[in-house]
Symmetry: C2
Subunit: 223 residues, 2 copies
């Protein structure tokens, strides 16, 4: 049985959970908080980052969300998440990279740091000063999602792929902190609502952390 080291609001861990659930790969969760990483986790994954996975029976350790997803793409037959030609797969990987890196730096990380990690580590106020800037930056990405959906069924093409799950994972964490204003983004909102109603999303949306309640629309099925 695979064990996934993660925390509930880590967008990269969410991506891996979504991929594992969609592909029906069983796993158990082990929480690693960003402000208290146990030494045995550092021994397993020397970079200390979440997510990481461990199959103790076979002695396999995987780290980095993209490396983990590619590993299961290569080793697991059912429900592939990177279907298509090399060119289509390049488009999937382009979108994953863009949200993993740019959206995370612009939107997810400032919210995660300012609203959860810094307050927990310093005992300080739950700063919300970064919200307007995060929302404004998220807006441009939602526009781009609308643009992509203008002539595609899913973000990277005709089939659900890791791109949809990676992008939705980032957005779901930003949405938890109130960083997403859906108004004026009908296509992105519809795409996200369809994804969010899938069984793979339900345990992820049910999680709460640090005493922070997400906005009412966060897990409403028909929001």
């Amino acid at each position: 049985m695979w064990r996934l080291y993660q925390f509930a609001l880590c967008p990269f861990s969410r991506k891996v959970r979504l991929v594992l659930s969609e592909r029906k790969i069983p796993y158990e969760l082990c929480q690693v908080l960003p402000w208290r990483r146990p030494p045995d986790f550092r021994q397993l994954n020397r970079t200390g980052r979440t997510p990481a996975m461990h199959d103790a029976e076979r002695g396999i350790v995987l780290a980095d969300s993209r490396a983990i997803c590619e590993y299961f793409e290569e080793t697991f037959v059912g429900y592939p998440m990177m279907i298509g030609s090399a060119e289509q797969r390049a488009e999937i990987r382009r979108l994953v990279a863009w949200f993993d890196e740019q959206f995370y730096a612009d939107v997810t990380w400032p919210l995660l740091r300012g609203r959860l990690i810094v307050p927990v580590m310093t005992g300080g106020n739950r700063n919300t000063g970064m919200l307007p800037a995060a929302r404004r930056k998220a807006d441009a990405y939602l526009d781009e999602i609308g643009f992509l959906l203008g002539n595609r069924m899913w973000l990277a093409g005709p089939t659900l792929s890791i791109a949809d799950l990676a992008v939705a994972a980032q957005i779901s964490v930003a949405d938890y902190f109130g960083g997403i204003d859906w108004s004026g983004h009908e296509q992105a909102k519809t795409w996200y609502s369809v994804l969010r109603s899938r069984p793979s999303f339900q345990p992820i949306l049910a999680a709460r952390m640090g005493g922070i309640e997400p906005p009412p629309h966060y897990s409403a099925i028909d929001a």
Copy 2:
């Protein structure tokens, strides 16, 4: 013929150039400066980031350095750069991700921004205040490289892989700005010297930008 959109001190462009050269894939260069991205580049690659590649004849656009490297791994037979089992490939991808993301954020980006991009954009001083912190952070990565090489021929295993090229690409840019202190890192230094003497590195090490001269050891073959 592939065209690669890049600039000389972009570590991700360097990685792609190294992979293309090692695999003997012909390409031509097109410079896209980080402070002056032409509109037609934005049309080709909506995220605006380097590197991107374009095969005009076949109408194929690739963006994001990892997506580009994976594309050539899937479509090009000669000189593969991700050899091994799924587990070994996961280790290659883990190392690429770690240096692309963490080393870049800790070392390469502060140097690139502070010593090149901000001075060019503002006409201000070539700040060197970030050098001690960058060197100190780079030190921990050089230790880790030494640790990996303790029982491996190359960074991810017995064969040269994209991991070596990605890590060396980041280090080469940091080294250009004087951000690498090699003393006390004999294993990492030997590994880098061997890589640096390969033909694929020569055009990369010959490039200069922004009137900044790298330290004397930067391109010395026997440094």
